[in-house]
């Protein structure tokens, strides 16, 4: 079965020659939809994190606002919006205001490349993986600016930690991505998903995919500053790290982008290693495939649902990490990256390349 990928950008392109006004409306609606999705997903993630954390810790979490506290996130959002907007007296006001916006913008830009289902993707660039890696790097700029402009020593420490950490771990994350790129032979995200028609890369690549996934998860967790790599905020060490001086709306930008970065990470991991919206397939689906019937059953679930399930599972894994592990120390963090993850990542890439050249992996074409 061939999957017809049709992105929103393509549809707009089709509309453009005939009815430009409709196309413009279409673009506007898309922008609104993405923004709405980001907000809603952020609130849902915050609620989910609070509930899951609570049950990890023998608590019940928010219970007061709405049924089992489902409206708690909205109440918190309203509270944050109504809070006084404080810019410290000695802060660099322009950068202080700009920083959360930058952080949020980086995350928002990644959103348009994420393939959520064959028909639900804003733009399908042929350099999709490169784009995502590049644009998600914008987030660290926001963090650095926020820590610098706050004119607070704790913030600065947090920002510097974040800068060193994110830039270091970007290397390993990219190496892990490259493994999949090498196997799939394309940088296009929909192409990578299509290449997993006969099975997900995590198990098709004789362990290379699994190692790459593990590295990607560790590096990704470090990139989005979550425990056990939350040194940039490090509550018990740096009070709140780079966002110590932020409050109200600006803090909520940081907060939201932090949670949505988790979504982006999970979505990327599921796209690259678990086939994104691609159902679980074993072998070719067409005539002659041994598991064609199994594949057919799997196809009954819509692709959007597959994507949601996979992403949710990975998000849960991230939350599980966060509520179990203690934090690493700065030098240990660097040691883990440069002395453990990076060599393993390189070796893994070489082995993958060898596999691809020799065609030694499951269901090679």
């Amino acid at each position: 079965m061939a999957w017809q990928v049709k992105t929103i950008a393509q549809r707009t392109g089709e509309l453009l020659p005939g009815s430009p006004w409709t196309a413009a409306l279409y673009v506007l609606l898309t922008i609104l939809a993405v923004t709405a999705f980001v907000t809603v997903a952020g609130l849902v993630l915050i609620y989910a994190e609070r509930k899951i954390a609570a049950h990890f810790q023998c608590r019940v979490g928010p219970m007061r606002v709405g049924w089992h506290g489902v409206l708690q996130s909205i109440a918190d959002a309203i509270k944050l919006l109504m809070k006084e907007d404080v810019v410290p007296r000695d802060a660099d006001a322009l950068l202080h205001i700009l920083a959360p916006v930058l952080s949020f913008a980086g995350m928002l830009l990644v959103m348009i490349a994420l393939p959520m289902s064959p028909s639900l993707q804003v733009a399908d660039m042929n350099i999709g993986v490169l784009y995502v890696t590049a644009v998600s790097g914008l987030g660290v700029l926001g963090i650095l600016l926020g820590g610098w402009s706050s004119n607070n020593k704790w913030s600065l420490l947090g920002a510097m930690r974040a800068g060193a950490q994110i830039i270091s771990y970007e290397v390993s994350a990219t190496l892990a991505l490259l493994v999949v790129v090498v196997f799939a032979g394309t940088l296009q995200l929909s192409g990578i998903i299509q290449s997993q028609d006969t099975g997900w890369w995590i198990w098709r690549a004789h362990g290379c995919g699994l190692v790459a996934f593990a590295i990607f998860m560790i590096a990704g967790t470090a990139e989005i500053n979550r425990t056990p790599f939350d040194l940039a905020e490090g509550e018990s060490e740096l009070t709140a790290g780079f966002h110590t001086e932020y409050s109200g709306l600006r803090f909520s930008f940081f907060f939201l982008s932090e949670f949505l970065n988790m979504f982006v990470l999970a979505a990327m991991a599921s796209t690259l290693f678990f086939g994104g919206w691609m159902p679980l397939h074993v072998g070719p689906s067409g005539v002659g495939g041994h598991f064609a019937a199994f594949n057919g059953v799997m196809d009954l679930l819509p692709p959007g649902l597959w994507f949601t399930l996979k992403t949710t599972a990975i998000i849960f894994l991230l939350m599980w990490f966060r509520w179990t592990f203690p934090r690493l120390r700065v030098d240990q963090l660097m040691r883990l990256e440069w002395k453990i993850l990076l060599p393993i990542g390189f070796v893994n890439l070489f082995v993958s390349a060898a596999c691809v050249v020799t065609g030694f992996y499951f269901f090679a074409r």
């Binding site: 056990p228 018990s236 060490e237 509520w323 592990f325 203690p326």
Partner: protein
């Protein structure tokens, strides 16, 4: 002969002593008095070189209440409840320290039952204190979940105290002449149920935190204190024992019923954060042993030997006695002039002396290490400031 007095401002404006070949600038940071891991209102002025701590200058007094001065204005029974508010996690041991010195000085009699109850509740409170420390320690190292597990299990001890004593934190239970109430009829049953509950939980704690590779990597070799330095710096309790000195007043000068029970004094070898962690975890197990030996053998007898309203007269002179709280040696030095109120009462609190070690421990470490060290000496700020 003239003695000059310095100020904090002069203290923290010293010359840079960085020996790094790179041109770096040192800076001062205030850690506290409002900081998540200074456990209250402790303020540490840090001289940092990047992430590396060059010097720690503790600034105390944010919660100084003048307990010693207050003690001079009331009678002996009125002083007992004040010491609850020093090390509030060892409120019963604090009560007992004052009671001990008053009973010794005024030559008051006690029964075996009183001593058994005191020993039991103090050991329960030691477990309670160490459980809270365990949770907070996990949180200071960045793991949130241990905090909730530790507090959840500590609550159970608080519930037992609530039944017998009527309070959860500041008990004022151990009084000169006895204990305020006899134990609750359900006390023995509750304690046994709790011990059975706690033992599997300790295994869980080990799986969650003790055995965790991140924790062990972070604690090993951090904040080392040699045995000689630990004594010279006045450290007591688990901090001293982790350095390899088995100095435990429960063994060396047994009070209460400690001479009748069998228990070990865990000691460390290196005196690093890991040893301090391990010693405390082991002390929980030893306290369980002590309680198990005593809980079925509480002798019968009176629980209050004097009339509560009767005045306590202490003969003039210096009286001192001390005991082992969850954090170290708590000594009460009582100077009496024979009147109803103490002429001078001084408390030698364990945290005050233990905190002094942080300066030596933390120098050269990182900020993350400093937090771990601070947590591993288990400070309670009201006990430092008194």
């Amino acid at each position: 002969m003239s003695v000059t007095v310095s100020t904090l401002q002069a203290r923290i404006s010293g010359e840079s002593t960085a020996g790094s070949p790179l041109s770096t600038e040192e800076y001062f940071v205030n850690m506290g008095p409002q900081h998540p891991s200074t456990h209250g209102v402790l303020r540490l002025v840090l001289r940092l070189d990047g992430e590396t701590v060059r010097e720690v200058v503790p600034v105390l007094g944010y919660i100084h209440r003048g307990i010693e001065k207050m003690g001079e204005h009331g009678n002996y029974r009125q002083f007992v409840h004040l010491v609850d508010r020093m090390d509030y996690l060892s409120a019963l041991a604090n009560n007992w320290a004052v009671t001990m010195v008053v009973e010794k000085a005024a030559k008051m009699e006690t029964t075996e039952r009183i001593q058994a109850i005191r020993t039991l509740v103090c050991e329960l409170q030691r477990i309670q204190s160490h459980l809270l420390w365990w949770g907070v320690f996990g949180m200071d190292l960045g793991g949130f979940t241990p905090f909730f597990y530790g507090l959840r299990d500590r609550e159970q001890i608080c519930d037992i105290f609530e039944k017998t004593i009527g309070a959860r934190l500041t008990m004022n239970y151990i009084q000169p002449g006895g204990v305020m109430f006899d134990i609750h009829p359900e006390f023995v049953k509750d304690v046994k149920a709790f011990l059975n509950y706690l033992k599997p939980k300790l295994v869980e704690y080990d799986a969650l935190l003790t055995g965790n590779v991140i924790i062990q990597e972070r604690l090993r070799g951090i904040g080392k204190l040699s045995a000689a330095r630990a004594i010279a710096l006045g450290a007591t309790g688990p901090v001293l024992r982790a350095s390899g000195v088995a100095h435990d007043l429960r063994k060396s000068e047994p009070y209460g019923l400690y001479s009748q029970v069998d228990f070990d004094v865990p000691v460390g070898t290196d005196g690093d954060c890991w040893d301090r962690y391990w010693v405390r975890m082991e002390e929980i197990r030893q306290s369980i042993r002590i309680i198990e030996q005593l809980i079925d053998n509480i002798p019968e007898g009176k629980t209050f030997m004097v009339k509560p309203a009767a005045k306590i007269k202490v003969p003039a002179g210096i009286h001192y006695s001390h005991l082992e709280t969850a954090r170290g040696i708590l000594g009460v030095l009582l100077v009496s002039d024979g009147k109803e109120a103490p002429y001078r009462i001084h408390c030698r609190t364990p945290n005050f002396n233990n905190l002094w070690c942080i300066g030596e421990m933390a120098t050269g470490g990182r900020i993350g290490d400093l937090v771990a060290m601070l947590s591993s000496i288990d400070i309670v700020v009201p006990d430092i400031d008194r």
